[in-house]
C-alpha cells in the first residue's frame, strides 16, 4: 500500500532523509525507530503529502503523493507529531469536521464519529472544548480524527507519546487490531512497543535505514542473542567463570557473586548460536544450578549499538 523509493529530503544543506526505500503492505504494522532527529517525522510528512521530497518517490495505494496526492490522501489517516487539534472546537465538532472533510455526510458522518469516539474512549469529553482537554485526551482526539474514515493506511507519529500506561496499552492494542486489515506505519522510541505491536521494524539514523526486519530478527543482531544466564549455588565465582570460558562457542563470561549464589552470563561467539545452551547444560550437569535461561537478545541494545556510534562521533567532533 505504501511504497517509498529512494526518498531524500534536504533542509538547506542538511540531509534530513537520505535515500530511504521501503514498502508496507496491508496487514503489516511497521515500527519506525530512531533517535530524535533521525528523520522519522520528516519521512512521515513526506508520505502523507505534507511536504514534498527533494528527490525520490512516494506512492500510497498506487497514487503518487507529489503528482496526484488527493486520491492518496483519501486513503491515509494521519496522526502528526504532538497531536495537533483545533483548540477552539469541541471534540465532537472537531471530529465532525474531520468526517466532513473526508466526504462523510449525514448519517455516515454520525456513524463515523460515534465509531471513532467509541474506539478512542472519548465519550466523557465529547462536548468539551479541545483547549480544556488533558494531554492524553487531546492525543486520543487527534487519533480519533485519523481513523474517522476507517482508512486503509495509517501513519502515526508517536501515537503513545504523553499517554499514561493504561492509555498506552489501549492504543497499542487498538493499533494491533487495526493492523490486521490496514497498512500501518508508526514511529516511536519506546522499544517495548515494537515487540507489542509491530510485525516489522525499521531503524533509521541520520536519515538512513540502518536495520530492517521483524522484531525477533532485529533482536538476533544483539550480543545478548543466545547468551545463557545461570544461577549457581555453592561454587566460587572464578571457578564458574573459568569453566564456562573454556566452552567452544563461548566468547565472554561475566560472573558475579551474591553471597552463596553466583549469577553468570555466557555470551556466544556468534549471536543467536543455539549450541551454546547445549554446551552450558552439559558443562554444568554436576553443579547446583538454580536457574538457567537463554536470552533472546535485547532490542534496546541493538538500537544503541546501531545508532550510538554515530551520535558519539558527532559529539567528539
Amino acid at each position: 500500500m505504501i511504497k517509498v523509493e529512494n526518498l531524500t529530503k534536504l533542509f538547506g544543506a542538511k540531509r534530513a532523509v537520505d535515500g530511504i526505500s521501503f514498502t508496507v503492505e496491508r496487514g503489516e504494522v511497521l515500527g519506525f525507530l530512531g533517535p530524535n532527529g533521525a528523520g522519522k517525522s520528516t519521512t512521515m510528512r513526506i508520505i502523507t503529502g505534507f511536504i514534498p521530497p527533494s528527490s525520490g518517490r512516494v506512492s500510497v495505494g498506487g497514487f503518487d503523493m507529489v503528482e496526484n496526492p488527493i486520491p492518496g490522501k483519501r486513503l491515509i489517516g494521519y496522526l502528526p507529531e504532538n497531536a495537533p487539534a483545533y483548540t477552539d472546537m469541541t471534540v465532537s465538532g472537531f471530529l465532525g469536521f474531520a468526517a466532513e472533510i473526508r466526504g462523510l455526510r449525514g448519517e455516515a458522518k454520525t456513524k463515523a464519529v460515534n465509531r471513532a469516539v467509541e474506539m478512542c474512549f472519548l465519550q466523557s469529553v465529547l462536548h468539551q472544548s479541545v483547549e480544556t482537554l488533558s494531554k492524553g485526551y487531546r492525543h486520543r482526539t487527534c487519533f480519533a480524527q485519523s481513523i474517522i474514515h476507517d482508512p486503509e493506511v495509517l501513519v502515526l507519529d508517536e501515537p503513545t507519546d504523553g499517554l499514561d500506561p493504561n492509555q498506552k496499552h489501549e492504543i497499542r492494542s487498538l493499533i494491533r487490531r487495526m493492523g490486521e486489515k490496514k497498512a500501518i506505519i508508526f514511529s516511536t522510541h519506546i522499544l517495548e512497543e515494537v515487540d507489542a505491536v509491530c510485525s516489522r521494524a525499521i531503524i533509521i539514523d541520520r536519515g538512513r535505514i540502518v536495520a530492517n526486519g521483524t522484531p525477533p530478527e532485529l533482536r538476533r543482531r544483539s550480543d545478548w542473542a543466545g547468551a545463557v544466564t545461570l544461577r549457581v549455588n555453592g561454587m566460587v565465582a572464578t571457578a564458574v567463570k573459568e569453566k564456562l570460558s573454556q566452552l567452544r562457542t563461548a566468547k565472554k563470561v561475566v560472573a558475579e557473586a551474591q553471597g552463596q549464589r553466583i549469577t553468570a552470563t555466557v555470551f556466544p561467539r556468534t549471536a543467536g548460536d543455539q549450541d551454546l545452551t547445549r554446551e552450558v547444560l552439559e558443562a554444568t550437569r554436576s553443579w547446583q544450578v538454580e536457574e538457567l535461561h537463554t536470552e533472546e537478545g535485547r532490542l534496546d541494545e541493538v538500537f544503541r549499538s546501531i545508532t550510538l556510534p554515530d551520535t558519539v562521533k558527532e559529539e567528539t567532533k
Binding site: F50, I51, K73, P84, D88, A98, E100, C142, Q145
Partner: protein
C-alpha cells in the same frame, strides 16, 4: 462539486471558530461603536444636513478596516502554524487552494456580517430624509470589496509568520500604504514635485481612489476589477508562501 463542498466545510469550521471565541463579538461591537461614533459625532452626519452616507459614514471605512481587518485575518494561518493544525489541514484530501479560499471566504463573510449590522444607520438616514438607496448600496458593496482586499493582504502576512502580532503589524503597514497612496494630503504632496503620470500610478494603487466611485454610486468595472484582482493576487501569494514553507 467536490471542490465546493470542501471549501464550504473549511469555511464553516472557520466561521465557527470566530464565534466560539470572544473575538467575533468584540470585533462586531467595536466596529459598530466606531461606525456610530464617527458617523454622528466626528463625521457631522447631522450638521451636513444631507440625506447621504457618502462622507459621514463610508469615508471612515478605509481607516476602520486598517486596524480591524488585520485583526480578523491575523489568525487565519499563523494560528494553524503555531498549533500545528496546518499539518492536519494540508494532509486532508483537499487542495491548498480549497483551504485558502475556504478560510478567506469565511472571514470575508464575517466582515460582511459586521457591515450588514450597521443597518440602523441606513434606517436613520431613510427616516430623516430621502437618500438615494442605490448609492448607499453601492457604497456597501465597495466597502465590502475593500474589506476583502485588506483581508487578502492579511492572509499573506498571516501565512508568513506563526506569530499573530507580527502578522497584524505587517498587514497594517501594507494596508496603510494602500490608503495613503490615495489619501488627499499625500496626493497633494506628491503633486507638488512628481510628474503627473507618477502621481497617477501611485494613486491607482490606492483603495481610496477605487472606493471613491462606489461611494458616489458609480459601479465602475475597473474599480471592481481592482479589488478582485488584489484579492486574487494576494490569495495566490498566500499559496506560494504556504508551498514555500512546506518545501523547506
Amino acid at each position: 462539486m467536490n471542490t465546493w463542498a470542501n471549501i464550504k466545510t473549511i469555511a464553516k469550521r472557520e466561521l465557527g471558530a470566530y464565534f466560539s471565541s470572544p473575538l467575533a463579538y468584540v470585533f462586531i461591537v467595536i466596529f459598530l461603536l466606531l461606525c456610530g461614533f464617527f458617523t454622528f459625532m466626528v463625521g457631522g452626519f447631522f450638521e451636513r444636513g444631507e440625506a447621504s452616507l457618502t462622507r459621514s459614514f463610508f469615508d471612515w471605512h478605509p481607516w476602520f478596516y486598517l486596524f480591524l481587518v488585520p485583526a480578523v485575518g491575523m489568525r487565519l494561518w499563523a494560528e494553524e502554524r503555531r498549533v500545528g493544525t496546518l499539518e492536519l489541514l494540508l494532509t486532508m484530501p483537499i487542495t491548498t487552494w480549497q483551504a485558502i479560499v475556504g478560510k478567506f471566504l469565511a472571514s470575508w463573510l464575517f466582515l460582511g456580517l459586521a457591515l450588514v449590522l450597521t443597518f440602523p444607520i441606513v434606517i436613520t438616514v431613510n427616516y430623516l430624509g430621502t437618500p438615494d438607496n442605490g448609492v448607499i448600496l453601492s457604497g456597501y458593496i465597495g466597502s465590502w470589496l475593500m474589506a476583502g482586499a485588506y483581508l487578502a493582504i492579511s492572509c499573506i502576512t498571516s501565512a508568513m509568520t506563526r506569530t499573530q502580532v507580527v502578522s497584524f503589524i505587517v498587514s497594517v503597514v501594507v494596508c496603510l500604504f494602500l490608503i495613503l497612496a490615495g489619501f488627499p494630503p499625500v496626493v497633494r504632496f506628491l503633486e507638488g514635485w512628481a510628474s503627473p503620470w507618477l502621481v497617477d500610478v501611485v494613486t491607482s494603487f490606492s483603495v481610496i481612489t477605487h472606493f471613491e466611485g462606489f461611494q458616489k454610486g458609480v459601479l465602475d468595472s475597473r474599480d471592481v476589477l481592482f479589488f478582485l484582482s488584489l484579492i486574487g493576487f494576494s490569495l495566490f501569494s498566500t499559496s506560494v508562501i504556504l508551498r514555500g514553507h512546506r518545501a523547506g
